[in-house]
């Protein structure tokens, strides 16, 4: 054995190198404060290892980046752990960098002859930050996409070469395949290679000068091995534990259910509960109002809010950060004087405090509406103004939407059909649950709400048309037939068909010298015929039964699964059938519904909407396409626009696909995973 070692040693000198590495003298003895450099090397090693394995499963293109990341996170065994390690170690690395820098400056370890090493360290810091920035985009999710977009837009501020520079980095005018291939080449190739080169130099020069002793005490001198190595190893272990803790955080601090329930859920489906987040796939046409950079860049993000206009922006985004870097680079020179050293320390403290303040402010700006933060209002820049509260509310909603959408994306790609070659974004664009809601918000929510109650769903401000939550269900229809509810904002209260609306129309007609509109209003009819005030118990029951029957019949017309009257032990199937039949009778009764509405061949069109197939897909499609059609509201149409009246879909506000998404959404018809 010894012979073999000797043979290898003669030819390689490895033993000598090891000896040199381990028996470096540590003047003044091993100390905890020297561990930061080693933890950084450790962190980098973790990134290199986890990164290499991620690389083996990742595919950089706009159709595959999100998809492969999803696959790692949700499908590959321990993918969540690998991603989690890489994600949180990156963040930890930034913190360690700050600590290392702090320790070096406070200890004056940048002074002669270690200037070069300090400079190399600063370059390494830039490289690590560039790695963080490029890595954020690679999953190609909404968050990375929109946040990185802000960062690359800043490049256009660079004088003279701004635009071409931006084009080169992005790989064209807009984000796409080449943005990913370029960012990935930087992230996994160019930057790590440069980092290694500088790291080797950094460590070599560090070894040349030895550790900068905190205190000289020759009696305590020791060797790197094992005293300092032990401390370093313990520190690295602590770093690893912190990272593992972050990976498990959603389970430890989550909101849904008890800890045990979250544990069980994580055990069943770890990818969905542990490790790094993944928002919905990037979609340039879908706004993402929750775009924020990673938390350690948040102070820069906040900083930008203070610079108004191009020139100011240039100062805030380029010159000030540049100047700060400049001062950092000059530190070893300034540090030659005692006062200079004090300045350096002070500068760094102010810098970190400033970054801390801005980070806190950014967080507060975004979240103030969700927290009781009056206590901090006395801090300058932390006031709760109406504008800021509104913005914060919007941000919180956007975050919630983003979470829902992320969740939905995972649900959709988990469907039996899987991910098509066009990518997951194609699935989302065809998803009634998310896109229908977006369309409703964009096209309908200026009048209609779709809300189960205060602070739920989509709420129009103010509502001026019926609340369409649960539309087509027996409950919804019964509400419309309820004299106490039909005239509220949830139904016709704020429309031309409510009492106020009818009166306004009558007044307007009177003013114009025309005939007042007839009294064929639904609201008036319901109030007159279905009011139970002062009625006997038998009459009351009769009215209630009739409303139930009509609701059941109309819900059956709509035919929405989950929104129809179904048989229960208390209500056998034949009773349901009878109820529906009774409702149909009422609908066909010319003294009642059919007096105005057409239903099943009875009654006329043109006065009120046709109730044949009421609420069905086709009925809704036609209504939204053209509410003023004879089959629907005809000349009684209140302000609802025609969204797809033209035969040529190009000329319509809603394309056929959009129309279908919206209708399916109103009917609550979308893909639901089976348990």
């Amino acid at each position: 054995m010894r012979g073999l070692f000797r043979w290898i040693e003669d030819r390689t000198g490895i033993g000598g190198l090891m000896h040199e590495a381990l028996y470096e003298r540590v003047p003044g003895g091993a100390r905890w404060r020297y561990v930061w450099g080693s933890t950084l090397v450790f962190a980098f090693a973790v990134q290199a290892i986890t990164g290499t394995f991620l690389w083996m499963a990742y595919s950089p293109s706009s159709q595959t980046a999100w998809e492969s990341t999803y696959y790692i996170q949700h499908q590959m065994q321990f993918g969540w752990l690998l991603r989690g390690l890489h994600h949180y170690m990156a963040q930890t690395m930034v913190v360690l960098l700050a600590l290392h820098l702090f320790q070096v400056v406070i200890d004056g370890a940048y002074k002669a002859p270690r200037e070069f090493n300090f400079w190399l360290g600063l370059i390494l810091m830039q490289i690590v930050l560039a790695l963080a920035l490029t890595g954020y985009l690679l999953p190609w999710d909404q968050r990375g996409y929109w946040s990185t977009g802000v960062a690359t837009s800043l490049m256009s501020l660079v004088p003279i070469v701004g635009e071409p520079l931006q084009k080169l980095v992005v790989g064209g005018g807009e984000y796409g395949h080449h943005t990913l291939t370029r960012f990935f080449a930087l992230h996994a190739g160019v930057l790590p290679a440069t980092l290694v080169a500088f790291l080797v130099l950094h460590v070599a020069i560090f070894r040349k000068h030895g550790i900068h002793p905190k205190k000289l005490d020759p009696a305590k001198d020791c060797y790197f091995w094992p005293d300092q190595v032990l401390r370093d190893a313990v520190a690295c272990l602590a770093v690893l534990l912190v990272v593992l803790f972050c990976i498990a955080m959603p389970v430890i601090f989550g909101h849904d259910g008890t800890f045990e329930e979250r544990m069980a859920a994580a055990r069943a489906n770890p990818g969905a509960h542990l490790g790094a987040h993944l928002t919905a796939p990037a979609d340039p046409s879908n706004a993402f109002s929750a775009a924020r950079p990673e938390w350690y860049f948040l102070f820069l993000f906040q900083f930008l809010k203070f610079f108004h206009g191009e020139d100011a922006e240039r100062i805030g985004a380029l010159y000030i950060p540049g100047a700060v870097m400049g001062v950092l680079f000059l530190m070893p020179i300034l540090g030659r004087w005692k006062l200079g050293h004090r300045f350096n320390v002070l500068f760094l403290v102010v810098l970190l405090a400033g970054a801390g303040y801005l980070t806190a402010q950014a967080w507060h700006d975004d979240n103030m509406a969700g927290v009781e933060s009056q206590k901090v209002e006395f801090i300058p820049g932390f006031a709760r103004t109406k504008d800021k509260l509104d913005a914060s509310k919007a941000y919180i909603t956007a975050v919630r939407d983003a979470e829902d959408e992320a969740h939905r994306a995972v649900e959709l790609v988990g469907a039996p059909a899987g991910i098509p070659p066009q990518g997951a974004v194609a699935l989302l664009r065809k998803d009634a649950k998310t896109q229908g809601a977006r369309l409703f918000r964009a096209k309908c929510a200026s009048c209609h709400s779709a809300s189960a109650g205060p602070d739920q769903g989509i709420i129009a401000d103010p509502p001026s048309a019926p609340n369409l939550h649960d539309f087509g269900s027996p409950e919804w229809i019964a509400g419309l037939l309820d004299p106490k509810r039909i005239d509220t904002a949830d139904y016709f209260g704020n429309t031309a068909h409510g009492t106020a609306g009818i009166k306004a129309r009558a007044d307007a007609a009177k003013k114009a010298g025309e005939d007042a509109p007839g009294d064929e209003s639904m609201t008036l009819w319901v109030k007159e015929n279905y009011s139970t005030d002062g009625k006997s118990a038998a009459e009351k029951k009769e009215i209630e039964d009739e409303i139930r029957a009509v609701s059941a019949a109309l819900a059956a017309e709509a035919g929405i699964e989950g929104r129809m009257l179904v048989a229960t032990p208390d209500l056998p199937a034949d009773k349901v059938k009878a109820l529906v039949a009774k409702g149909q009778e009422v609908l066909k009764d010319e003294g009642k519904c059919a007096g105005c509405h057409k239903f099943g061949g009875v009654g006329d069109l043109g006065i009120a909407p046709d109730l044949t197939g009421y609420g069905s897909k086709r009925w809704l499609l036609e209504l939204i396409s053209n509410p003023a059609a004879e089959r629907h509201y005809a000349d009684q149409n209140d302000r609802m626009p025609a969204f797809a009246k033209d035969a040529d879909p190009k000329n319509n506000q809603l394309s056929p696909q959009e129309l279908e998404l919206l209708v399916n959404w109103l009917r609550g018809e979308w893909y639901r995973p089976t348990e």
């Binding site: 802000v150 807009e174 080449h178 809010k305 922006e313 103010p462 000329n651 506000q653």
Partner: protein, 224 residues
Amino acid sequence: MDEIPLAPDGPSLRKGANSATVAAAGKHAHPHGPGVLFREPPRRGFLYNAFAAITGALVGLAPLAAGIAVYLDPLRRKKAAASAIPVTTLDAIPDASKGDVLVGLYKIVADRQDAWNTYVNEPVGAVYLVVPKGTKEIKALNATCPHLGCFVDLQQSAAGYSFKCPCHTSAFNGDGTKIEPCVSPRDMDSMECVVKKRITGDQLDVSVVFENFQPGLEEKKRKS
């Protein structure tokens, strides 16, 4: 290599180079190495040295140059000229005598080229159509924030509407002009909007010449 001192003369060059490496390893060099003392490095003619340096540089630069040439490719590509994309139809231009009127938010659907892929009829952006107060003209505003490119949100209330960027607090009036103080260097980007009456009927066809602009700058500069 040329910085490692070479042994003085030809025949011993190999051996010398070997020991030089060992010597360069420093104080822990292998004790059994042949300790050779070096004299001054050899002098060669200027041309000789220059030739060595240039050849070395060339072999290194050739692949690098090829790489950089490919890397610069995006600069060469020009965007196709924008054409009018139909967005919506209207029965009439809304009356904006009392205040700005919002017609709506519309997705722009067009063909998109992403490197090797052509996407047909894809949403490529979005516009807000508005009618500024007192005018009778529809104005198309790009929904991309002129500050740094976030998607500008619509804020509606009983009092009217305005635009607000969710990123760095930029806010814009209903006609797209900045609400000061504003981080954005310019108003929201308006684009040419073509409103034509349909040959049959009274309907108005609204098309937008959709373009994206460089964010961050005071000047409204088309993205090339």
